[in-house]
Subunit: 407 residues, 2 copies
Amino acid sequence: MNIVYSTMAQHLGSSAVRDILKLTQGSNVISLAGGLPAEELFPLEAVREAYNRVLTGPASVLQYGLTEGYAPLREKVAARLARQGITVSPSEVVLTTGSQQSIDLLCRMLLDPGDSVLVESPTYLAALQVLGSYRANIVSVASDKDGMLPDDLEHKLQLHRPKLLYAVPTFGNPTGATWSESRRRSIVELCRRYGTLILEDNPYGEIAFAGGDRAGLPPLAAIDGDMGGGSVVYTGTFSKIVAPALRTGWIAGSRELVTTVAKAKQAADLHSSTIDQRALDELLSGYDLDGHIAAISHEYAARMKILSSELRSRNWEGAHWEEPQGGMFLWLTLDKSVNTAELLPLAVARGVAFVPGEVFYPANPDRSTMRLNFTHTPPDLLPLAVERLNEALEEWSGRRLESPNPV
Amino acid sequence: MNIVYSTMAQHLGSSAVRDILKLTQGSNVISLAGGLPAEELFPLEAVREAYNRVLTGPASVLQYGLTEGYAPLREKVAARLARQGITVSPSEVVLTTGSQQSIDLLCRMLLDPGDSVLVESPTYLAALQVLGSYRANIVSVASDKDGMLPDDLEHKLQLHRPKLLYAVPTFGNPTGATWSESRRRSIVELCRRYGTLILEDNPYGEIAFAGGDRAGLPPLAAIDGDMGGGSVVYTGTFSKIVAPALRTGWIAGSRELVTTVAKAKQAADLHSSTIDQRALDELLSGYDLDGHIAAISHEYAARMKILSSELRSRNWEGAHWEEPQGGMFLWLTLDKSVNTAELLPLAVARGVAFVPGEVFYPANPDRSTMRLNFTHTPPDLLPLAVERLNEALEEWSGRRLESPNPV
C-alpha cells in the first residue's frame, strides 16, 4: 500500500550522522557521541529499594494515574525548584516522559507553521528537530561565551515577533557554555518587554563542577519570577541526576500554560509511567540525592579535566575550547580546514565517535566543530579516545595533501 | 503575559463531562464512568518480583534505551501477536506509552488538516480527541451489531478518499460490540481496494468471556496479512491485561510505517520507560500471564452479568442493551426522552457516575445512551449503583413532569 504521510512526517528527517553513530553501538568504538550519563554511578540499589517499597502495595499503585502526574512527586519537584528561586505551586508542574516530551508538548500547544522561534546557534539537536517538525521559522540569535547578545536579540524580537525563545542557558548542550547573570537578566527583560515566551531547558544545571564561577546562577525562571513571572516556562529532568530509564521530566510554568500542556499530554499518552514517578517520589523521601549529585558532579569534573588535558597535549593547530563548568559536554573547534562530518567515518574506523558540530546549527554551521561527551566513557579510556581521534585527524590531513578536493 | 496558542491547542477542548466526573474522585460516588480495570486483581507480587529482578543489575538497565523499545519485549509482543495470526517481526513493533501514544503518533505521521478519517459512531473518545486535534475530517460509517456496514463504508471510501479508518472491532469502547468475521473480511477487503489504511485498536481483545461466539475471531491485521498485508496497523497494550501504571503499549505494522512512527516518537519523548518494559519482559518470562488473563476475564464476566441482571430487574421503559462478550463496557440505551448528560449531575448527587453516550459520537449523538464500566466496581456494589441510577432516573422523570422544559 502506498501511504501518503503528513507534512509533519516529511519535516522529521533522519540524519546521516545518526546512521553512522548507530554503527558504533555494541562495537569496540569508544563513543564520546551520546549524551549519556555514567552507568557505573547510577544509584541502582536505592532505585531497586524504591520500586520495592512502591510495589509492596496497595495494588492501586498499578492503576491509571492523573495526566499531570503523581501529586506527591509534583510537590517534591516544586520544592526542589524553590531552592533555585523558582516559585511554583505543585499544580503548576506537569510530569512528562523526560524533558523531551515537555519540549514537544509545549511546541504543540504554541506553534503554527511559520511561527518564529529564537534559538542559540548551536543548540540542542532534538529541540531543532521538534521545532522543525512543527515547521517553525527557526531564527538564530548571535551569542558569545556569556550568552545571547542583547542587541541582536532585540533586533530579532522586533523583526520576527517570535512566539518562543528556546535556550539551555546553564552548562548547555552542545557547547557546555553558561550564560552570565547580567546577560540572563537582559534576556528575560527583553523577552518580557516584547511578549515572547522563554522555554528554559535545564537538564544539566545541578551537575556543577567545583571552582566554577557560574554555578548557582539564578535560572531564567527565577529572574522572571522576581519581575512578576509568567514569561518563562521551565523544563527539567531526573534523567541526569538519577537515571534516564525512569523517563521522568517536568514542565513548570503559569497555571494556564501548564493546564494547556496537560490537555495536550492527555491526548498524547494519557499520562507517563506512574510506577516510575512513585519510585522517584520514594527515592527522594529517603535517599541523599543531593549527595549523589555532588558525587557524580565530582567524577564528571575529573573526566572533563582528563579529556581537556589530553586534547591540550595534542596541540592540534587551530584547535580551541572552553572547559565547561558543569554538564556533560565539551565543545571542540578544530582548524577551520577540518570538516568534522567527513572526519567522523575515519574516526569510527579508528575506534572513536563524536557528534559533528554541524547538526546542532539551525543554519550556517561551523563545520570544524564537534561535541565530545565526557561523562559516559570510563576515565582510563579517555586518553585512548583522544589518541584515536588524533590518528583520524592525521589520516584526514594526509588525504587532504594527496588530493586537491577534501575527502 | 498574553499567550497565543496554536491552532491545534484550540482544537483540544476540555469537556463539561470530564469536569463533572472529576468531582467524583475520592468521594463516595460509585463510578461506572472510568475505563479502569479492577485493582484487587492486579498481579502486584509478580510485578514487584519482576522489577526486583530487573533492578538487580547490571546498572546499564537504568541507561537510555532505544526509541523503538526494549528489544526482548518487542520479540515477545511479536510472538504473542503471532498466536492471533498476526505475522510481524520484532522490528515491525514499536513500544509506546500506552496504546494512546500509538494512536497519537500514527495520526501525527499521517494526517494533515482536512484529511478524512472514517470511524464507528460511537467510538473511543480519546481517539476522537486526537483526530480532532489534527483537524481531521471525521466521517462516521453506519454500523449494526456486526460492525460497519460495507455499503456505507464503500460509499464513504469513494466519497472522501480517507487516509485512515480507525476502529475497535473487538469488545469495543464504548459499545462492547464485536464485529463478525464476515464483516471483518469485507471491511479489510474494501479498505485494501481503496488504499485506505486501517488502525485496529485492540486493547480488550484478550478479555473474552466464556460462552461468547465471538471470542477468537481473527484480528483485522491477521485478515490483512492473509491478503498480502500492509493495510492494517495494529495497536495493543498491557494496560488491561497486566496493569495501566506500566504505561506500555505497542504499534505493529509494515516496517516503513513503523519506522516513520519511531521517528515521530524520537522527537516526542526519545523513548518510553525502559524499566517498565524490562519489567514486563521479566514478567512474561516467568509469570503465567495467560492464566491471569483467564482469571480476570472470568471475574469481569461475572460482574457484567450482575450489572446486566440488575438493569434487567429495573425494567426501565425503553431501555435496552446487548451483553458484551468481553472487554470492560456495557452500552445502555434508555428511553429516547432521557438526556443522559443532563441525568449525570442528578446521578452523581445520588452517588453513581457514568459517561453520557453523547461524548463518544463524532456528530449527531444519541443522547439517551450511556457507557457503564463493570470491571472497576466491586461486584457487591453493582446493585447499589443501579439502585442509585434508578433514583436519579426517577428524579429526572419527576422533574420532566413538573416542567414542560426538560431539566
